[in-house]
């Protein structure tokens, strides 16, 4: 029995087989979803997919997609999904599962670029490709795979030093979802010119000046310029087409979002109880400061390894955010396979940490279910579960940081 499993697994670790199988699995899920939606009361398709499709319908009728209430995304997404109306309702889901498998392929290419063998890269990739979470999310019609593909493509282009392409993809990624904007500092720091030996021996104010001059170099200006043109160009285009609604729903809503309804965030109950109090603004700021400090520290500490830096960035951003839903987890899970090869954790430790992460979610989901579907007042339990989840996430991140074996370059720099 064990030898059959082993032989199946080894055949699966062939690159072509792996990618074909993962695409087919997602195709089956999409087909099952269509069947379930038609025959059962509980639908497979996510509400978001209907929101996108309704917004696309408005576009085909020459109207603004923001006529669809709760459509809080870029108009670009509704435009891309117009074939949902003209061709088939299932087009969007096929696009999302393709982006999902593409994300897996980009992970494979980045791992190969970082020196992994074909087989090892396949094994790590399979953690994303054969993972039910991203497969389920994209086959249900969520658009997260589009943004994960854009972020991974940006990282690949940066690894290959293809700066103009990286900048275009980055500008597009930030346009679609705001959170990649936090990568700006690590990317800028990673593009700085290398320091000369003579520059080491000067006083601190001269060091500061030298640092600034190394940071503001030609490559950074190229990257910032191209990314800026792409982002501003898209913003101006859609502002001209849809006006203030576009800015409000795509960006401002997310920046000022105070969702008082229960979610994974440790701040949820505090924000619910103080929603109408004069302390609300000060508390919002107090919630923002730990997030900002940690993001700054991570950028300065790990910018030499962009994959680890971006992973920690997003994991910290999501864990310390004022609103946190399970969709956000995919934003850092797609970067985890890039970090995995350099972790010195044993498989047993890895599985324990994974189990702890799931346990943290379970501890939250139980009282949340009783609140929403049974009507018990479990607010206090949900609050405590949110705090426990933050502690668990922080613990896991500390374990990852502690057991990360930097690349040879990083080790050499650390030793000097």
């Amino acid at each position: 029995m064990a030898s059959i499993v082993e032989s199946v697994l080894s055949k699966l670790m062939n690159k072509n087989v792996l990618f074909t199988v993962s695409f087919l699995v997602r195709l089956v899920l999409v087909s099952f979803g269509v069947y379930q939606d038609r025959t059962m009361v509980v639908k497979y398709t996510d509400v978001d997919y209907h929101v996108f499709t309704d917004a696309s319908k408005f576009i085909t009728q020459g109207q603004s997609p923001y006529h669809r209430s709760t459509y809080r995304y870029t108009p670009l997404l509704a435009w891309i999904l117009t074939p949902n109306i003209y061709l088939s309702h299932v087009f969007g889901k096929l696009l999302f599962i393709t982006c999902d498998v593409l994300s897996g392929h980009l992970i494979y290419l980045i791992l190969r670029q970082r020196g992994l063998s074909c087989e090892a890269a396949c094994r790590v990739c399979s953690l994303w490709l054969l993972n039910p979470l991203p497969a389920g999310v994209s086959s249900r019609g969520n658009a997260e795979s589009v943004i994960t593909a854009l972020v991974l493509a940006t990282l690949l282009c940066l690894e290959l030093r293809q700066l103009p392409m990286a900048a275009i993809l980055y500008g597009l990624a930030v346009h679609m979802k705001i959170y990649p904007v936090t990568y700006a500092l690590p990317i800028a720091l990673s593009l700085q010119r290398k320091e000369n030996v003579e520059e080491r021996r000067v006083g601190w104010w001269r060091k500061g000046l030298g640092f600034l001059l190394r940071l503001l170099n030609k490559e950074l200006f190229l990257f910032a310029g191209v990314a800026g043109v792409v982002f501003c160009g898209l913003t101006v285009l859609f502002y001209n087409m849809y006006g203030w609604d576009f800015l409000q729903e795509t960006y401002l809503y997310h920046l000022t979002r105070r969702d008082i309804r229960h979610n994974f965030s440790p701040y949820f109950y505090m924000l619910y109880l103080t929603a109408d109090s004069p302390w609300s603004l000060a508390l919002g700021l107090a919630a923002f400061l730990p997030q900002a400090l940690l993001l700054l520290l991570v950028s300065l500490a790990f910018h030499t390894d962009l994959a680890l830096c971006c992973f920690l960035h997003t994991a910290i951003f999501v864990s310390f955010n004022k609103v946190c839903t399970s969709q956000y987890f995919l934003w850092y899970l797609c970067l985890f396979p890039l970090v995995l090869p350099r972790l010195t954790l044993s498989p047993k430790q890895g599985v324990e940490l994974l189990a702890l992460w799931f346990a943290g979610q379970g501890i939250w989901l139980a009282p949340a279910y009783y609140l929403e579907f049974e009507g018990y007042n479990t607010f206090l339990l949900i609050w405590l579960a949110g705090l426990i989840f933050l502690i668990i996430n922080s613990f896991i991140m500390v374990q990852i940081i502690t057991h990360y074996k930097p690349s040879d370059t990083m080790q050499r720099l650390k030793a000097e």
């Binding site: 009361v41 639908k43 509400v47 209907h50 929101v51 709760t70 320091e195 520059e199 601190w204 060091k207 500061g208 030298g210 640092f211 190394r214 008082i260 309804r261 440790p266 701040y267 109950y269 505090m270 619910y272 109880l273 103080t274 109408d276 109090s277 302390w279 508390l283 919630a287 730990p290 400090l293 940690l294 520290l297 991570v298 300065l300 500490a301 790990f302 030499t304 910290i316 310390f320 609140l371 929403e372 579907f373 049974e374 009507g375 007042n377 479990t378 607010f379 206090l380 609050w383 705090l387 933050l390 502690i391 922080s394 500390v398 940081i401 502690t402 930097p406 990083m410 720099l413 000097e416």
Partner: protein, 219 residues
């Protein structure tokens, strides 16, 4: 005249939690007139809301016919929302007219007095009737004549007869859990303490294992 006196309306709320079903049943005696159309006019409180997109999908699945009087905000809390009108065209189901409307509880303001639940009351709907065979209605007390859309497609307005309820049922109510406003200080303190602690632990770990190059101004 006498048949109208046999008509009665009852309402019930099923399921638990924030997502409920509002079931309205119209009972009537024998002698159901041909071509009779019924319309239930619900005045729903600000403590709940209806998802028009869910209604659109239910219309295809179960044939539920509902017209919303105005746009309903799906996310606003109760104290910033208002009452709203819903027109429900019930369907014939085993000798009575029945309609099941999915409703959702809104988040309410946290209570300061230790109250754990908010009672949201839903009054009985008004029942109005019309028939295709009788287009000219004469008003006579206690029955009134009102104007409302003829069908769920809302293409034209017809005259309907408002029926008085024979049984006075108490309004149905549902309980919505409330946050405990009296705990605001311990919750804020506890939250900020834990988040700052986690921040400190992570910062320490990053500081220890990070590769801060010499050219960084902090070191």
């Amino acid at each position: 005249m006498t048949w109208l006196e046999t008509v009665s309306v009852t309402m019930d709320v099923s399921k638990n939690g924030f997502h409920r079903d509002l079931v309205t049943t119209v009972y009537f005696g024998p002698g159901f007139p041909d071509g009779l159309e019924a319309l239930l006019v619900h005045r729903l409180p600000s403590g709940i809301y209806i998802d028009q997109y869910q209604l659109a999908s239910l219309k295809e699945d179960t044939g539920l016919q509902v017209l919303l009087g105005s746009e309903v905000d799906l996310e606003a809390p109760a104290h910033t929302s208002e009452e709203f009108i819903v027109l429900v065209y019930p369907a014939l189901d085993q000798g009575s007219l029945k309609a099941t409307l999915p409703i959702h509880g809104r988040y309410h303001k946290p209570s300061l007095a230790g109250k754990r639940f908010e009672l949201v009351e839903i009054k009985l709907p008004k029942l109005i009737l019309r028939t295709d065979t009788c287009t000219q209605l004469i008003s006579f007390p206690p029955y009134k004549i009102v104007d409302s859309p003829c069908t769920v497609h809302n293409l034209s307005i017809c005259q309907w007869l408002e029926i008085q309820h024979q049984q006075e049922q108490d309004p149905v109510s549902l309980e919505i859990p409330l946050g405990d406003g009296s705990l605001v200080e311990p919750v804020c303190a506890g939250t900020l303490l834990v988040t700052l602690l986690c921040c400190a632990i992570l910062s320490r770990s990053i500081w220890r294992h990070g590769v801060f190059l010499d050219n960084v101004i902090l070191t």
